[in-house]
């Protein structure tokens, strides 16, 4: 039963710097990295040592507590370095890539002949499993669960988001193969959400064995969180899995070819990026392959992902496992005199969802933004602003407060099973008191994960 849903609350953040729909093959990096930190809560158990030769698809570490989940090398080459941080936490496993990639030997998989257990085995053994995430908690899925349904969002509504129709262009067969194997994993539906207005790529519209739902409204309409909430809400004890659309195609590619070929398109966006296009890279690529010569480098912030949920990386850092976007925006590390650019200025150039700035009345103008906090952290004072951008039947501030006081019972009652940090990104953006709500929600989910699951 396909549904048509309307997201009424939310906010499309209008900023400069979206990418053109044209793509370039980025040069093959000299080094690639898989970052255990991309997988929240993962404690890796390293399988290879520095100096070992690996192929694309060779496991380099696995989950210490769920050993079947392997994390594989995206390219062939030599393990160059295992970078550790405080308390010897593993931050990056860096692989020096060969000139020509060689793949772990594998053969195409006949998906139709697989049963559920076999399908799981294929995904686990090939290193494709980490593409599947679960709600609640928003971490890599548990292979012992059977989700009540699987959600794939067919578009991204976040600021400067890459165009999924472009990412999936000519990927019809790969996408379909990915959908086919996901179908083996659940008794419920594969829900694919597309924008209500405008067409979508054939990969989406021609996909079979999916339930296509139409979603209209502002960001976060493209996030799976609000989609799940409206279509198949999660109650305590239930599990839903989600996969990013481009990752479905990577899964499908393996099934069709038997090779772990993790190449994908990454959009370079943001006001400080000059050559804003799509770049074809392999997962774990060095950001500098995309950035070099294509953006300003003076006092800027590089973000792997979008400006609401992405993670900050260094110029010589690596693109995140799940990210299809690099954003470059200016740092805002300067003092602003209160009457001119500061807190009491007229603020025609200040992006705000609050009527206390005239920006709402300026129509479709696009804004320059920087990373300044535009204030200091305070206790909650203003009420009702989170609710304007939070399309859930959940009280966001009360949920956050229940996390702050570590009250598990209240968290459960107030709906923590239905949310992920990314669902609070807009709340965090609009917050007058500058409260880091995504971080707080993550803390709450960690507690729930530990105590209740």
């Amino acid at each position: 039963m396909s549904k048509s849903i309307k997201i009424r609350k939310g906010l499309d953040i209008r900023i400069k710097g979206d990418a053109n729909r044209s793509s370039i093959e980025a040069p093959l990096s000299s080094t690639y990295a898989i970052k255990p930190t991309d997988f929240h809560g993962l404690i890796p158990k390293i399988l290879k040592r520095v100096g070992d030769q690996v192929k694309a698809g060779t496991p380099i570490f696995q989950d210490k507590y769920r050993e079947s989940i392997k994390y594989v090398s995206p390219v062939s080459g030599k393990i160059q370095e295992i970078k550790r941080g405080a308390k010897r936490k593993i931050l990056e496993v860096i692989i020096e890539a060969d000139k020509v990639i060689s793949y772990e030997a594998g053969s195409p998989v006949d998906v139709a002949s697989l049963d559920r257990e076999k399908a799981k085995e294929v995904l686990l053994a090939s290193g494709l499993w980490p593409f599947i995430k679960m709600r609640p908690i928003d971490v890599v899925a548990n292979y012992t669960d059977t989700p009540k349904s699987i959600f794939i969002s067919g578009f991204d509504s976040s600021p400067l988001a890459p165009d999924y129709d472009y990412l999936l262009y000519t990927r019809d067969k790969e996408f379909q193969a990915g959908v086919d194997i996901l179908n083996k994993l659940t008794d419920g539906n594969i829900n694919l959400q597309l924008r209500a207005k405008g067409g979508a790529d054939a990969a989406f519209t021609q996909a079979k064995k999916v339930v296509t739902n139409k979603v209209s409204g502002p960001h976060p309409a493209g996030n799976v969180g609000p989609q799940i909430h409206q279509i198949d809400p999660i109650n305590k004890g239930e599990v839903i899995w989600t996969v990013n659309a481009q990752d479905v195609a990577i899964i499908g590619r393996y099934l069709l070819t038997g090779q772990y070929n993790a190449s994908k398109l990454v959009a370079l966006t943001g006001s400080e990026a000059t050559n804003r296009k799509y770049y074809k890279v392999i997962i774990g690529a060095k950001a500098s392959d995309v950035l070099n010569g294509n953006c300003n480098t003076d006092n800027v912030r590089y973000i792997s992902g979008n400006i609401l949920t992405g993670s900050q990386i260094e110029a010589d850092g690596y693109i995140g496992f799940y990210d299809s976007q690099i954003t470059v925006i200016p740092e805002g590390n300067e003092y602003k005199f209160f009457l001119t650019k500061g807190w009491l200025g007229l603020g025609f150039n200040k992006l705000s969802n609050n009527s206390a700035y005239p920006s709402k009345m300026l129509g479709p103008k696009k804004f320059d933004v920087d990373t300044n906090l535009n204030g200091e952290e305070r206790a909650f004072v203003v009420t009702g602003e989170y609710e304007k951008v939070f399309p859930f039947d959940i009280y966001p501030v009360h949920l956050i407060k229940s996390v702050m006081i570590n009250d598990i019972d209240s968290m459960e009652k107030l709906g923590i099973y239905e949310v992920a940090p990314e669902d609070f990104a807009l709340c965090e953006f609009v917050c007058t008191s500058k409260i880091n709500s995504q971080e707080i929600v993550r803390q709450g989910l960690d507690v729930i994960h530990k105590e209740c699951m």
Binding site: G342, L351, A356, V381, Y395, L414
Partner: protein, 403 residues
Amino acid sequence: MKFLRKIFDNAHAKLNKSEKTKKLFPLVDSVDTLMFTPNHTTKGGAHIRDGIDLKRTMMFVIIALIPCLLFGMYNVGLQHDLANASVEWSGIDQFLFGLMKVLPLVIVSYGVGLGVEFIFAIKNGHAVQEGFLVSGMLIPLIMPIDTPLWMLAVAVVFGVVIGKEVFGGTGMNILNVALTTRAFLFFAHPTSMSGNNVWISGFKELKDSPNMLADGISGATPLGDLASFAQDQPAYSSLGGFMQDGHSFVEAMWGLYPGSIGESSVFPIMLGAIFLLLTGIASWRVMASFFAGGLVMALILNQFAGENAYMQLPAIHQLMYGGFLFGMVFMITDPVTAAQTTKGKFFYGFLAGFLGILIRVVNPAYPEGVMLAILIANVFAPLIDHMVISTNIKRRLKRVKIA
């Protein structure tokens, strides 16, 4: 602005040199962040943030209060001029007289309140939070003009410490700070806060020297006059007489009669209301439901008025007198002490408006019914939110049973 920036940077550097002076950091930091939006950048999470901050929010409320403040100054002078048979002033003289009378109240309110805030800021090691910027302006505006400064100072200390800081400071308080201050004075020093002698500057002295007091000036506020209907010697023989004597709709709109400094005139309050609603600082839900609550109560009282002239007062007039509208725009809308849920805001506002008129009319000893009603609603706000959230929780649990 570079020289100013340098001054602050130097000050910070000097303070950081020794442990003793480090404690004063919040002081300098508070002034610094007032002059400059700091250079803090986002760390993780959303990399960009909305332009709004608490300082701007609070400052906009103060801007919305300016018409009331200016009107209050003029009215203080005007009322003194009307009551004092020995002076004949122009409008500017009246305003200047009011300015000289009101300004000390504002200075004492801010000075004492911010002083207390600074002490707590140093003790707790954080910057001064912005909450008192608004409270400090609200407090003088809801005082009778002849409130002694020492009394005001004591009350402000009580309001800030007991009303706010004991709960953890800005954002944590249960009761509206400005109203806590006023309630303290109302119960601790009733003779200076109510009756007919406190609403006109210098009224007591005028009363003691019979030649100075102009004829027909009682010093009473409209609500005082209305309340007197319940007494043996009412100020007016009938409601009609009251209405004709300077209390028509238009005259009530301008509000040139005795009262607390900022509350008597509808017009400047409405200017503030429009500004707060346009900028989205105040919740229209709370304002509208407060108004509706007061209106409904006034209409109910009209139905049961009988011979009681106060209860016969047309509903709209009822709402224009006293602190009702000032409370509606500036007090009940305080987001910290109000209900926080969208639905809860409607109940909350309605409850406060409803009770405000009820207390005021049914117990004429409390013309400040609105103040008491808002404080009661403050106390009930968490309960209202609890009820609203409970229905949300039940709705979520119901979903499980169906599935």
